[in-house]
């Protein structure tokens, strides 16, 4: 291992990390390191062989690996971006030294001027939501099953029930159908789906797969391999309603019950986390509460479109490079961004205003519940700075709102996002 000090070290070579590496180089970083634990770059995109990626970014409909390859090419062409595959980061220290390990170089202590966290997220498990019943073979998180089918070439089952109508669950319903498996149904505890509308249509309706809204699983059957599940309708408090139970036969249960930003490394070094997003609190530069530590993508908040993950990665890369080169000017004041009525999350949670405001800020928000004909307003000290009307809003679909530079100048110490129904 060289004793060099990288300008920017990026932990995670998925879409956020790739875009961060590219962004850092564009902004003048002289040496960039991407550390990836898997055998190839691209992260979760490599197992997402369906199309629908890149409509915003490339105005094209690409597959996951296709989307990843656009960035991987850019990275691989650039001699000043080093990539370490098959490498696990064990620890990040406050002085930004990174302890990582791989079979080739063993244990390494890597020095860098700026760190970008792009570790993505992990799937919520059966245990986290306490599904009762047996613990047989055949219960998988949807993403783990997707990897087995699409990358390793095996089936997790032949008669499938899916719990959770998030996008991964919906995509897997179609994928398993295409593999010849029978998908018996998708169960969703909420009264609405948590997936993109296009996925409901293209993955369930097109394959006549029933979607049971306001239903959950009350027991998993089968001492060795799954033989079926019992499900029930749930009441307003999401508790099973006695007497509504029915059984569905299956040999496999796939769980698509939420994603959790993977922040063990960031948390251990002392980065402040947002209790709602479970990701670091970041400013518009995607800098965390610790100077020189940046974060982007699903590690900050779970996205529904990779295009926005790339956008965030690019931002983090750009400003991490500026930080490393000593070009990041100190803010003169800070605006705190808060989620008000009807809004679940807004990222970034903070806007650090530099001496001269030159750039507009794009904010990513999610609503708390689905609604039609809403108005979003951004207020500061009782003054509405920006407002926008939307015909439909769903918690599953992230809303992007741009704050013009002029409006940022008008804003006080706090910006509040809220929803008014008409």
């Amino acid at each position: 291992m060289s004793q060099r000090i990288y300008d920017v070290a990026i932990i995670g070579g998925g879409p956020a990390g790739l875009a961060a590496a590219y962004g850092a180089r564009q902004a003048g970083a002289e040496s960039v390191l991407v550390i990836e634990r898997d055998r190839e770059l691209g992260g979760i995109l490599q197992q997402c062989i369906h199309n629908g990626f890149g409509l915003h970014k490339f105005q094209e409909e690409l597959t996951g690996p296709g989307y990843a390859s656009r960035y991987i090419k850019l990275i691989r062409q650039d001699a000043k971006i080093e990539v370490m595959l098959d490498t696990m980061v064990l620890e990040v220290a406050a002085d930004k030294s990174i302890w990582a390990v791989n079979p080739k170089f063993g244990l390494m202590q890597i020095a860098t001027k700026a760190v970008i966290f792009t570790m993505g997220c992990r799937e919520r498990t059966r245990g986290a939501i306490r599904i009762p019943g047996y613990r047989p073979a055949g219960v998988f998180t949807a993403g783990a099953a997707q990897r087995m089918v699409n990358m390793e070439g095996y089936l997790p089952g032949k008669k499938i029930v899916i719990l959770g109508s998030g996008d991964i669950g919906l995509i897997m319903a179609r994928r398993m159908s295409l593999e010849g498996a029978k998908v018996q149904g998708v169960l969703e505890i909420m009264p609405y789906s948590n997936g993109l509308t296009r996925n409901i249509v293209q993955c369930l309706e097109d394959y006549d797969i029933p979607l049971y809204l306001s239903h959950t699983i009350t027991k998993i059957h089968g001492a060795e391999r799954v033989t079926g599940i019992t499900c029930a309708a749930v009441d307003g408090k999401m508790q099973p309603i006695p007497g509504t139970e029915f059984d569905i036969e299956c040999d496999c249960l796939l769980l698509s019950v939420g994603l959790i930003p993977e922040n063990e490394l960031s948390q251990a070094v002392g980065v402040k986390l947002d209790a709602i997003t479970s990701g670091p609190v970041v400013n518009q530069l995607r800098q965390t509460s610790l100077p020189g530590f940046f974060a982007a993508g699903n590690v900050v908040h779970v996205h529904d479109l990779v295009d926005f993950v790339s956008e965030e990665g690019g931002i983090a890369g750009k400003y991490a490079a500026q930080y490393a080169r000593g070009n990041l000017s100190a803010p003169v004041r800070t605006i705190t961004v808060t989620a008000g009525t009807g809004v679940r999350t807004v990222v970034p949670q903070q806007i650090d205003v530099p001496a001269t405001v030159i750039e507009p800020v794009r904010l990513f928000m999610r609503v708390t519940q689905p609604d039609k004909k809403i108005a979003i307003s951004i207020t500061s000290a009782d003054q509405t700075l920006v407002s926008r009307r939307l015909p439909v809003a769903k918690p599953s679909e992230m809303i992007v709102i741009e704050m013009p530079a002029s409006k940022l100048e008008e804003a006080g110490e706090q910006l509040t996002f809220s929803i008014q129904t008409q």
């Binding site: 634990r37 098959d86 696990m88 064990l90 302890w99 390990v101 791989n102 079979p103 080739k104 170089f105 063993g106 244990l107 992990r122 799937e123 498990t125 059966r126 245990g127 986290a128 306490r130 009762p132 019943g133 047996y134 613990r135 047989p136 073979a137 055949g138 998988f140 998180t141 993403g143 783990a144 990897r147 087995m148 089918v149 390793e152 070439g153 095996y154 089936l155 997790p156 089952g157 032949k158 008669k159 593999e179 010849g180 498996a181 029978k182 009350t218 027991k219 998993i220 001492a223 060795e224 391999r225 099973p240 063990e264």
Partner: protein, 491 residues
């Protein structure tokens, strides 16, 4: 496979009782074969319980439970060192919340002293709050038992089995005993899928199946009435919530729902107690989980439910009758020795049960001659995450697979998994790897490493991916992709 047709002693059951017995018998010049019907040892009651080394104040004075608990607790102190067991002697508190329960503590203290438990004392409310600040404000006092510990029961069974193998015992997994052959009321051998094995003595350590094994030998003197207990395990980030094993004051029927740290820094709550007729019934239930949550919150009100990572249940192999252990020669069939009805404090008692079984064999006329070559010590296993950076670097230099982390939550390397597969009682299933290495035991519960460990098992065992099992004999994980002929599915 089994390339012998005769042995001195057959042990049926590879749980903690059977493996402790096998290890005890390996001290002597005897041929011993242990049969376990599951693909792994310790896969029944041993893997799903409270994992506590009880002090011994609970059992009725004079019972086998009382006697063997206290003796077993002492023996673990030596075994910890010899076998490299993961034990933490953290002590236990029986917590009282009113005057009536304080009286119960006094009774327990007396009973404990009669049973020979050292160090018992009753703590005041202030002393309890000082030791456990998160405990309920209703606390009135507690019985402190410094000799209670926590350990890894599966790890202990594995260590017993590996040491037994090291000293000449044959451990055969994936192999139910199908028949016990007797002639004129005497055992002559057992039959398994590997054929007939002649033996004069059979030790029945078959856990919840001990009554069925007994019946195979013509002895129906007892029945096992399994009693299920459910548990919830929490993320390691909860590890500061409390420091000792916490019991509520016991009622007439139950020791109650306890809370305990684990040796690996998680915490858990459980178990409840439900009779079940089904010996494979390890399903959890909404009602059961709610019951243990509600009761656990009476001791630790701030229990963070959002940090739960898994739920499981286990069966206590309770016998009918007076509820005491059944450790005795069969009164019907000569050569059959029961180590049955082993419920709590069975884990703690296991090494003492093993001593008792060997003395029964001696009384039965078996010559117990010490083996000169007996080696009581197991070589230590390498746990990468616990090593210094220098030691980690050295290991990777010797074997690059130590440089590949497979389980990211628990930092388990590929080399540790490969070793777990090739050890003397090697892992054959995904859960067997998990129990040995912790790969898959963390907060993501194998979501990331499961497919990777499956691939490593297939490679190391030279079997197809589709032949890799989760745990039990038929628990296959993955299927081959289907060809054009999907009639069976679509029908």
């Amino acid at each position: 496979m089994l390339n012998i047709n005769k042995t001195d002693i057959v042990v049926i059951g590879g749980g903690i009782t059977g493996t402790a017995i096998a290890r005890e018998l390996s001290k002597y010049e005897l041929d011993v074969v242990l049969f376990e019907k599951f693909p792994d040892i310790g896969a029944g009651s041993t893997k799903a319980n409270s994992a506590i080394l009880h002090a011994g104040f609970d059992a009725k004075p004079g019972s086998l439970k009382a006697q063997l608990n206290v003796r077993g607790n002492k023996l673990y102190h030596d075994l910890e060192e010899e076998l490299g067991l993961e034990v933490k002697w953290i002590g236990s508190l029986v917590v009282a919340v009113n005057d009536e329960e304080m009286k119960t503590l006094t009774e327990l203290l007396e009973r404990g002293r009669t049973n020979g438990v050292a160090g018992l004392e009753i703590l005041s409310r202030e002393e309890v709050l000082d030791r456990e600040p998160q405990i309920t404000q209703n606390v009135a006092g507690a019985l402190w038992a410094p000799s209670a510990g926590i350990f890894l029961p599966f790890g202990a069974a594995l260590a017993f089995a590996e040491n037994a193998v090291r000293n000449g015992v044959k451990v055969i997994t994936d192999c139910p005993v199908e028949e016990i052959v007797t002639e004129a009321g005497k055992i002559t051998g057992v039959r398994t899928k590997h054929g007939f094995l002649a033996a004069k003595y059979v030790i029945n350590a078959a856990g919840v199946y001990a009554d069925e094994i007994s019946r195979l030998a013509g002895d129906d003197s007892f029945a096992i009435k399994p009693r299920k207990g459910e548990y919830i395990l929490f993320d390691k980030k909860t590890s500061n919530l409390f420091k000792h094993v916490l019991f509520p004051a016991p009622s007439k029927v139950s020791k109650g729902i306890l809370l305990s740290p684990t040796v690996h820094g998680n915490i858990f709550v459980g178990p409840n107690a439900q009779d079940t007729a089904d010996k494979e019934d390890v399903a959890t239930s909404t009602d059961g989980l709610n019951e243990i949550i509600n009761k656990a919150k009476k001791l630790i009100p701030s229990l963070p439910l959002g940090a739960a990572i898994t739920q499981f249940s286990g069966l206590r192999a309770a016998a009918d009758g007076d509820g005491d252990f059944i450790i005795q020669p069969s009164s019907v069939t000569q050569g059959l020795i029961h180590a049955a009805g082993i419920q709590s404090p069975g884990l703690t008692s296991a090494p003492a049960i093993a001593e008792m079984v060997s003395s029964i064999l001696r009384q039965q006329g078996v010559e117990l001659k010490h083996k000169v070559s007996f080696d009581p010590v197991n070589p230590r296993k390498i746990i990468f995450r616990d090593l210094s950076h220098e030691a980690q670097q050295q290991l990777i230099a010797q074997n690059p697979l130590y440089g590949r982390v497979i389980c990211r939550c628990e930092t388990v390397t590929e080399a540790e998994i490969v070793e777990a597969i090739h050890d003397s009682c090697g892992a054959r299933t995904l859960d067997a790897v998990k129990r040995r290495t912790r790969a898959g035991m963390g907060r993501c519960q194998g979501g990331f490493c499961g497919p990777r460990v499956t691939a490593i098992l297939a490679r190391e065992l030279n079997i197809p991916i589709t032949a890799v099992r989760k745990d039990s004999p038929e628990a296959y994980l993955f299927f081959n992709k289907m060809t054009a002929d999907c009639k069976e599915v679509l029908a």
